[in-house]
Symmetry: C2
Subunit: 449 residues, 2 copies
């Protein structure tokens, strides 16, 4: 039995996941982000520094450890930020700053499984970290790179990358006269789940605002725009604070920096209700929602830390964003919305005229592979009809028939159309889309059937 909360993909689904990971990696690397992996296990001291989610940590114990007290003091990482911060402190002397890294790994949380929540899931994180100072333009860079990476997943439902800025909202709350801006933030953060009227009441009761102040904070939270026009709308509310000014400038710079992104795939918007209340962000914050899957919440979140890591002497500010790959893909798999054109890499099945011809069929397959065409040889010299059905069951699009009589050329058949033609192993090339498995969506499927 598969273990509850530990998703397991069938080969065609895994083919989709590989395409997703390859495209993410490609965009990250083109932007100069270096790959990094950290061990699955960290010391519990490291893992529990943050505190809020300690109960979700899986602790490791050797099966035949002498007694309970001999636990290893190790736990599985539950995100990639805590291990990265530890990595930066530990290897600072071997790194050049600012340091760009991407990290695509599984993480584990001992949560109760439910849709969109898994005990094992893959995250794809990008971060830029510096020593002492990290220029603001890296916030823009992180938004651009992740928007471009998400845009490369052109088979997903439309996505919306929502950006806000903690300085902006904190400055606004201070300008309004809120005695505890953090309390306002935590209440506003509930707007996704709680009606605005109830939030207004809580702002008065829990954040000590008067009704006018609460009204202004709610008006701020309602502002969204796809460009920097949000600035004028905030100004219209008549609130003044220097932190607000800086936050508005920063958020406008992120929006301007993303103006070249293809908005039909990934809409980038300023969304002034986004706060990421429980995380320690200090400036830019990101969330991402997938159209039609809003109940999943944010599938890609992050922001700016003024102190991603610190050893007491040196502080390492950082900005990053983390994509929940499993969280994104599993609901699509479960709805049958995504699959691959085939579950095997093979583009060609080389047929076997008879068992003695195996070396020759192997030679043909090897010649195709040398030209980057994945190929396998038939398992046995059954009738050709059976060999073709073998290819069909695997979704292999082409069957190669070696010439049998002296002087006969080889033939290749597209088993989808039935078209067959003479072919030379040194030059025949399938259309690019047939070379490797491709992602198909439910709509593609519907059109083809």
């Amino acid at each position: 039995m598969p273990v509850s909360g530990f998703p397991e993909l069938l080969p065609a689904q895994r083919a989709v996941e590989l395409i997703v990971l390859d495209r993410l990696r490609r965009v990250f690397e083109l932007h100069g982000f270096a790959s990094l992996e950290t061990p699955a296990a960290e010391s519990l001291d490291q893992l529990l520094r943050k505190g809020e989610i300690d109960k979700e940590v899986y602790v490791l114990r050797r099966l035949h450890a002498d007694d309970v007290d001999s636990d290893s003091g190790l736990g599985l990482h539950y995100d990639l930020t805590v291990p990265f911060a530890r990595f930066v402190l530990e290897h600072a002397g071997h790194l050049e700053f600012p340091f760009r890294r991407y990290q695509i790994q599984k993480v584990w949380r001992g949560e109760r499984p439910q849709e969109g929540r898994y005990r094992e899931f893959t995250q794809a994180d990008i971060d830029v970290v510096a020593r002492d100072d990290l220029p603001f333009h890296h916030d823009v860079e992180i938004a651009q790179v992740m928007a471009e990476a998400l845009g490369a997943l052109d088979f997903l439902p439309p996505l919306r990358l929502q950006v806000n800025n903690r300085r902006l909202i904190e400055g606004f709350y201070r300008g309004v006269g809120a005695p505890d801006p953090g309390a306002v933030m935590r209440v506003i953060d509930k707007l996704d789940k709680v009606p605005a009227e109830a939030v207004a009441v809580q702002l008065v009761d829990d954040a000590a605002l008067d009704e006018r102040q609460a009204g202004l904070c709610l008006q701020l939270a309602e502002i969204t725009s796809d460009d920097s026009s949000f600035v004028a709308r905030v100004r219209e509310l008549g609130v003044e604070h220097e932190l607000l000014d800086r936050g508005l400038d920063e958020l406008a710079a992120v929006l301007d920096g993303c103006s070249a992104i293809d908005r039909s795939r990934v809409a980038v918007s300023a969304d002034l209700r986004i706060a990421r209340g429980l995380d320690y962000y200090t400036g830019t914050v990101f969330e991402t929602r997938m159209t039609g899957f809003e109940s999943l919440g944010s599938i890609c979140s992050g922001g700016r830390y003024d102190s991603l890591a610190s050893d007491g002497r040196t502080t390492y500010p950082g900005v990053g964003i983390s994509l929940g790959v499993t969280r994104l893909l599993m609901p699509l798999f479960q709805r049958g919305a995504l699959t691959a054109t085939r579950p095997v890499p093979s583009a060609v099945l080389v047929a076997l005229p008879d068992e003695d011809s195996r070396p020759r069929s192997n030679t043909i397959a090897q010649a195709l592979r040398a030209r980057n065409i994945a190929a396998e040889v038939a398992v046995s010299a059954q009738k050709y009809g059976k060999q073709i059905r073998y290819a069909q069951r695997r979704g292999i699009p082409y069957v190669w028939f070696p010439g049998v009589a002296d002087g006969d050329g080889d033939n290749v058949r597209d088993i989808r159309s039935g078209e067959q033609a003479e072919a030379d192993v040194a030059s025949w090339t399938p259309p690019h889309g047939d070379l490797t498995p491709q992602v198909i969506t439910k709509e593609d499927n519907a059109q083809n059937s």
Copy 2:
């Protein structure tokens, strides 16, 4: 602190590992092997079925589980064969047989760390599994594919893939008249560590052979050859058994099938002392040794199982081989024998004439990326000498200087040679070897310095 036994790679080392994994994957996929991953955790029932290594299993426990008895019943997988066997049984209805898969994942063992032994390490496995019957030619295929994959790692010290056949040795021992062929196998397996004279004594004492029988078994174990000439040498020993005949035929077929492999990189040999005593192989067995690193033992092992998995009604025979990626690479990293040309993907640093030019430098970088050239933009508009040193510290080979005055063209400098030339972002292309990080060996390093 990094946790003992959990290796952590710096960016340049990780770049080497990625190149290794990419090349392995490429060969596996060209041969039609589909990617698969299984969860890190399996039920303890599954993990403990084999028995011998149960004490190495890491058990998972939620940190705030109510008491010790509420352990999850889950442990981390310690190899990729046990999870694959479980996967095959569980998903048999969704798979087409014979089923070829590759699986590249980390595995965990709670062993005492020592050189060549890690608590977390990456394995790369290929297996072919069938329902009821798996034709022998798949044994040849597995040897060919892994030899080709190892050969693609052309920066490694020379490797030797050693092949034997359990039927051959069991048939020989039976033909000699051994009362317990398994006992002979277990004693012969010690030849790597124990002198031949001592093994001869043990064959008499522990395997109940007489001296003539023991001598014949030792003579068999000494036979090696790079082609099928071993058959004649076995025949000269005058032992007859039908199982021996079948084993000789099979082993000769594997050697013949590997005759096209480039022997300068991966020598394939019949080696009649290889037994893999503790594993449940039934025919072909594989081990692999790396020249100069013999003390590591076998870095790539496997063989044929007549029953990889069984649900009582259906039996799934399989043949596979498992490469210890971490075990292979870590000793080379520790000796400084392998590194990458640079720790970052960027081939180009786009310089910044002044801070106002950032959008223009971003546009240049984006145009390079669109042509598959990884690029990053300078962090700040320092003097060009400082920007060049920034690139040098990262090993980025090219710095791109945007033209400043109207009508000025852009320039690109190879900062290794100092050569600089006008360049057009729409057509300039670096040499292929500069496009992505490459592996360099200690010898390359010595030649260049």
